[in-house]
Amino acid sequence: MTKYLSFAAAGLLTVAIVGTSMAQEAKNPAVKARQSLMSLYAFNIGQLGAMAKGEAEYNAEAAAAAASNLATLTQVDQSAMWPAGTDNAADPSSRALPAIWQNFPDVSAKGQALAEAAVAMQAAAGQDLDALKAAMGPLGGACSACHKAYRAPKE
């Protein structure tokens, strides 16, 4: 919230020329690993989301499997995936904000909140479509709470 306001205030303003480097493939294995883990979250939620949106027919077994994968993924120990010096200022292939390294306790609290939302989804997904749909919002909220504070937008 704080940032766009810099442009919303009155007065003279120098428009910064922002570099337009395109997203790059990660070279650092730790950056690659954490981005891959995020992609695995997204893939499994995709199975659930397709059912929630009505693009795929609801299947209790498949939903339970995807939710259980997700819950497992949130248990992965990530401590080696976030070495110092891999923020988006140091590594152009990363969107991880430097604030992560100043607020580790908060980052892990947000990781914990995701693990809890994934457990709730695990309980809901195999139950029925309505329960699955209802669990999507809190799950998305848990992902976004961390992306809000710690991830820059794409180039």
């Binding site: 306001l5 810099s6 007065g11 003279l12 303003l13 949106k53 999507m136 794409k154 180039e155």
Partner: protein, 297 residues
């Protein structure tokens, strides 16, 4: 010679005076609101659609605490740091003693009841389009929220930006009440236009600005540099955002993109609000976004 100097000074005084007169803070016309009966439930929807809590709740507030509008979030800008004021129902420290007409003056004209200009960091350049009925209902909803006695902090803004008088000129240039996207819109798209252009202030982030901080309306919602640093605020024009309407509505509800990535940055805060709207309103926003001009034209 001396006489000329005096005349010139007098002329200058008249011109500045006329300028200040033209740009003086306006209050709302009470007649426009008279007879309107507030509907608190509707006021709550307006509150969420307009994202008041995103700026006026306490820093880091979550859940129910976002309804305590004690202020205190800091917005650092090149001009200094603005601090969102307390707009809780506390009569001394918040706006508990404000009438609906006072609120309308702030939302439509960016003016305080004692005729001071507000900084456009308060997005009244969008709220200027808010319907009178919605202002009255929003007022009633705000008054139903908890009072909080945290004093508003003063902005830390240096000269010359601390001169509120100069904001009259900014308003003259950029405060417009008409619709931005005109033309043939369905009823659903018109609802979406109201939600985006008047309440959601989506353009404040998604539209680029000129050197004076005004929105470049010919590039409406076509994306902008991220003033906070790296990355770009994405464009939402139909040729830039190829998501289906259902996909856009889902994003505004759960934050999930069609690839099941999830919203981040300042958009995550916006989704907290759009998640509280009805499915019909989220679809209305999506259908409006399909009707805005292409980025390449």
């Amino acid at each position: 010679m001396r006489k000329w100097g005096v005349t010139a000074a007098a002329c200058a005084a008249v011109i500045v005076g006329a300028g200040l007169f033209v740009t003086r803070p306006r209050l709302a016309d009470p007649a426009v609101l008279s007879g309107l009966v507030p509907d608190i439930a509707q006021g709550e929807q307006v509150f969420h659609a307009a994202g008041c809590a995103a700026c006026h709740s306490a820093p880091g507030a979550e859940g129910e605490a976002r309804l305590v509008l004690s202020g205190g979030r800091r917005f650092s800008t090149p001009f200094g740091t603005f601090v969102a004021p307390n707009i809780s129902s506390d009569p001394a420290h918040g706006i508990g003693d404000w009438t609906p007409v006072d609120l309308a003056g702030a939302l439509w004209h960016g003016s305080s009841p004692d005729r001071q200009h507000y900084y456009p960091a308060f997005p009244y350049a969008s709220y200027v389009r808010m319907a009178p009925q919605d202002v009255v209902s929003l007022h009633a909803f705000l008054m139903s929220l908890p009072a909080d006695a945290t004093p508003s902090a003063t902005h830390e803004v240096g000269f010359p930006f601390n001169l509120r008088l100069a904001l009259g000129g900014w308003k003259l240039l950029f405060l417009r009440s008409g619709w931005i996207v005109d033309g043939d819109l369905s009823g659903q798209q018109q609802r979406g236009r109201y939600l985006v252009e008047a309440l959601g202030h989506c353009g404040e982030c998604h539209t680029p600005r000129n050197a004076l901080g005004g929105l470049i309306l010919s590039k409406w919602l076509q994306g902008a540099p991220n003033p906070g640093g790296k990355g770009r605020i994405p464009g939402l024009a139909p040729d830039q955002l190829d998501w289906s309407e259902a996909d856009i509505a889902e994003y505004l509800k759960s934050g999930f993109t069609p690839d099941y990535d999830s919203a981040g940055g300042e958009m995550a805060e916006v989704v907290l609000n759009t998640a509280k709207l009805s499915d019909a309103d989220r679809l209305a926003i999506a259908s409006y976004l399909k009707a805005i001009p292409q980025s390449r034209d």
